[in-house]
């Protein structure tokens, strides 16, 4: 799963001055925004209008999960009623959530009339 870089992943820019002068660490504005960007997640909710096959196919296409991971999410949403399928920055979550909602009905079930319900939540 895609994750936003945490503060520990950010490398602060250092002066190239190699003298014994104390080096000043600077955090650029974009570094700062990334480092402190709150993480979000996409939660997928269970219903009886979608098959395991649909959930796997949809999560591979919309969230970039492997088939194995997508299948585990399908089992979890079936058993527990919901599952987290993606973690990331807000915009990334919104984009993928829109893809889930645009994935449409499950062609395998005649009674399926639309996509699964998913929403972006703060972690």
């Amino acid at each position: 799963m895609e994750r936003a870089l945490g503060a520990s992943d950010q490398r602060m820019t250092k002066s190239s001055n190699s003298t014994a002068q104390p080096q000043t660490e600077k955090l650029t504005e974009s570094d700062s925004q990334t480092a402190f960007a709150p993480l979000f997640k996409i939660v997928l909710f269970d219903d009886d209008e979608h098959t395991y096959d649909y959930v796997v196919e949809m999560l591979v296409a919309c969230c970039g999960l492997s088939r194995g991971s997508a299948f585990r999410c399908a089992v979890e949403v079936d058993l527990s009623g919901k599952t987290t399928v993606f973690y990331g920055p807000l915009e990334s979550c919104r984009r993928r959530c829109d893809k889930i909602h645009a994935f449409g009905a499950d062609p395998r079930l005649p009674r399926s009339k639309g996509p699964m319900k998913a929403e972006v939540q703060a972690r």
Partner: protein, 164 residues
Amino acid sequence: MWMPDELARRALAYFGRILGKEIPSREALAALPASELLLLADKLPDGFLPAMVGLLKGVGPHGFEKLLGDHEEENRELSERFFERYRAMVLEPDHSEDDNPLEIWLPREACHDLAFLSTRQAFFLRQEIRHINEWLERHFQLGPFPPAGQEEAWSALWAHLTSA
């Protein structure tokens, strides 16, 4: 899959015999330690795995956590084996590249119901253009449409059906 009570009772009795201890209820099944639950799954024939999962449904998130082996390394192998077998049981077999999903899931006769057909738009647009062209030609004598012409093909199908 939600199992009727009588069937659930028989399945639990069978599971109990396999495990060598009484499992009187769904809650008791869900309360088994992860290692025992996975051992039970390992001993069950493939065809009973959906029933076992069905019995764990609705007992809360710990049912799924136990199938994951409660994230204990000692349970990992059993958990991996469970998911592999269960996946083979419940997912449809891989179709060959030559299988046309539209032929499988969008029968010609269903296209007369425009309300139903509209719910299949996203599915239609996801298909490869070669499958769309093959399907439209066979059933509606429409096309062929160029690569990336899914939207155009959908509009042509819709226009064809609404003008008929």
